[in-house]
Amino acid sequence: MDAIRTEQLTKHFPIGFWRPRPYVALHPLTLSVGAGEVFGFLGPNGAGKTTTLKLLMQLIFPTGGTAEILGRPLGDAATKRRIGYLPENPYFYDYLTAEELLTYFAGLFGYAGPERRTRVARLLDAVGLGAERRLPLRKFSKGMVQRVGIAQALINDPEVVFFDEPMSGLDPLGRREIRELILRLRGEGRTVFFSSHVLSDAEALCSRVAILVGGRLVASGAISEIQALDAGGWDVVVRGLQPAVLDALTRAGRVTTSTAVGGDRYALELPASEQPHVLLSELAASGATLVSAHPLRSSLEDFFVREVAAASRDRRLGPS
C-alpha cells in the first residue's frame, strides 16, 4: 500500500476582487510514495511544494483531484493520529515553553500522565533542546523554533511524517542532526515526505524525488534516474601528481582542466566519458594519491533555471 497517493490533485487560487481569475498554484499532480520511503519534494520557491503539503494537511482544499494518506481520504480523523507535520517557517505560541507546547500537543493525541512527560522529555532531548525546555518560546532563535517544530511533528510516533523545508533556519550542525534524524526515521520504517530546494539534502536522504517547477511536476524517480541531474564529469583532487603524467592525460583529453591548489595538490576535472576508477588506479600506480572525488552534477538550481525559462517560453508560444 502507498503511504501517500495523489491523483490529478489541483489547486487554483482566485486573484482579484471584482473579477477574480484563477491562478494555478498546482497543476494536476499525480504521484505516489511507498511506505517506508524517504521522498524528496524539490523545487524553487513558488513551485507549489508548500501548496501540495497544505492540500495534504487539509489546510487548503483542492480545486480538483483526490489524495490519500495511508489508504484513507484526506481529512480522515483517524489518519491524523498516524501522521506528523512540520510547517514551513513554523510559529508556535510564544507564551508557552517548549515543554508546555509539546505537552499541549501530546494531550491532543490523548497522551497523559507519566507517558506524556516521558515522551515530551525524550523528544526535546532528541532535538537538542533538553536544557531549554522551560524557556519561553519567544526567547528561542529561528533554529530552535525549527527544532521544536520537528519535535511536535514526531510527538505521536507518526507512521508518515511531512516536513516542509526541515533544514530551513538551521546551521550546518543542525542540518546534519536533522539528516541523521530523518535517516533514523527511515530506519524505523517510517515514511518521510520532505520538501527542499537543496539537492544535496535529497541526495543524502531520499530513495526517490519529485521535482516541481511553476506548479507542474517536471521529473520524478530516483535521483540517478533523472537524466537532467546526471553526472556531467568528475571533480577529482589528487596529491603527488607528476607534471609529466598530468601533461600526458591532458593531451589525451582524459583531463579537461587542471588547477594547482597548493600543497602538492591538483584539482582535475574529468569528462563524462572518463571512467574515474580506471584513471585513479593509473594515477595511483604513478605515485599519486586521491584526496577527493565528486560527480559534477548539473545543479538543481541550474535545472530550475532551465525549467523556469522553458515554462515561460511555452507560455509565450502557447495558445492565448
Binding site: 494537511m57 482544499f61 510547517p87
Partner: protein, 264 residues
C-alpha cells in the same frame, strides 16, 4: 480531556499570560478609590453609587475583554500560522472554533467572578459605615441576577467577535462587534419605529432588524437590582435562553465559515 477542552484551557492560559488579569487589579483599585472618595463627598447615596459603579465596571471591563481578545482569537492563529500545527493534529476545525470560544468564556467567567467579589467586598465595607436600613440591602444577593445577565451578554459579545474574526481583520471585527453592541442596546427603538415613520417599508425593515440584531438591552437589569425592584426568575431564564440560542447560531455560523477557509 477532549480536544475542545484542551484548546479552551490553552486560550485561558494565553489570556492569563497576556496580562488580562491586570484589568482586574485596575478595576479593584478604581473601585476602592471611588468608594473612598464617594464616601467623602456624598451623604446617604454612597452605597447606591457604588452599586451602579460596580455593575457598570463589570459590564464595561468584561466588554473590553470580550471584544479585544475575541477578535484576535482566530485571526491571530491564522495570521501567525500556529493554526497549521494544530489542525494537523486530531482536532477538527469545529472543535478548534468551539474550544477557542469556551476558552475566552472561561477567562471572562474568572474575571467576572473576581470583579464581583471585589465589588461585594467594597459594599460590605460600606455597609459598616452607613445606617442600618441601607446596610441591610448593601450586599443583597439578588444583585447577582444582574451580574448573571451581564455574563450572558458578554458570552454573546464574544460569540459575535469570534464570528467576525473567522473571516475579517481584527480592526473590522472590533468595529462590527462594537457597532452591533451599540445597535443591540437600542433595539426597542427599532420595534417602535412604525410610530415615528409613515413609510410601511421602513417600518418593516426596522421590525426585521429588531428580530435579526441581538437585543442587548434585554440583558440590562442594572437599574432594577440597584433600586431593589424584582427581576422574576422567568425573565432571567427566558433571557438566558434567548442568549443561548443566539450564541449557538453564531457558533454554527462561525464553524461553517471557518470550515471552508483556505489558509494560504
Amino acid at each position: 480531556m477532549p480536544a475542545v477542552a484542551r484548546v479552551a484551557v490553552n486560550v485561558f492560559r494565553e489570556s492569563v499570560r497576556d496580562k488580562v488579569l491586570y484589568n482586574l487589579v485596575a478595576f479593584a483599585v478604581l473601585l476602592m478609590a471611588a468608594s473612598y472618595l464617594i464616601g467623602q463627598l456624598t451623604a446617604g447615596q454612597d452605597v447606591k453609587i457604588i452599586k451602579d459603579l460596580g455593575l457598570a465596571a463589570i459590564a464595561t471591563f468584561g466588554l473590553l475583554i470580550a471584544i479585544f481578545i475575541g477578535i484576535g482569537l482566530v485571526w491571530k492563529e491564522v495570521e501567525r500560522r500556529s493554526i497549521y500545527s494544530i489542525l494537523s493534529k486530531p482536532v477538527s476545525r469545529a472543535q478548534f472554533v468551539v474550544g477557542k470560544y469556551l476558552g475566552l468564556v472561561l477567562t471572562l467567567s474568572v474575571n467576572v467572578i473576581v470583579m464581583s467579589a471585589a465589588w461585594y467586598l467594597v459594599l460590605a465595607y460600606m455597609a459598616t459605615t452607613v445606617g442600618e436600613a441601607t446596610a441591610a440591602t448593601a450586599t443583597d444577593p439578588a444583585m447577582l441576577k444582574a451580574v448573571a445577565l451581564i455574563f450572558v451578554e458578554l458570552m454573546l459579545v464574544t460569540a459575535l467577535a469570534l464570528f467576525f474574526s473567522t473571516f475579517s481583520s481584527p480592526f473590522l471585527s472590533a468595529g462590527l462587534t462594537m457597532g452591533l453592541w451599540v445597535a443591540g442596546h437600542f433595539n426597542e427603538d427599532l420595534r417602535n419605529f412604525q410610530s415615528v415613520v409613515d413609510s410601511t417599508a421602513a417600518a418593516w425593515l426596522a421590525r426585521g432588524l429588531y428580530y435579526l440584531l441581538p437585543n442587548f438591552a434585554a440583558f440590562d437589569v442594572k437599574y432594577q437590582v440597584v433600586h431593589g425592584l424584582p427581576v422574576p426568575a422567568s425573565y432571567l431564564a427566558s433571557t438566558a435562553l434567548y442568549g443561548a440560542v443566539y450564541i449557538t447560531l453564531l457558533l454554527v455560523a462561525s464553524v461553517a465559515v471557518f470550515s471552508r477557509r483556505d489558509f494560504k
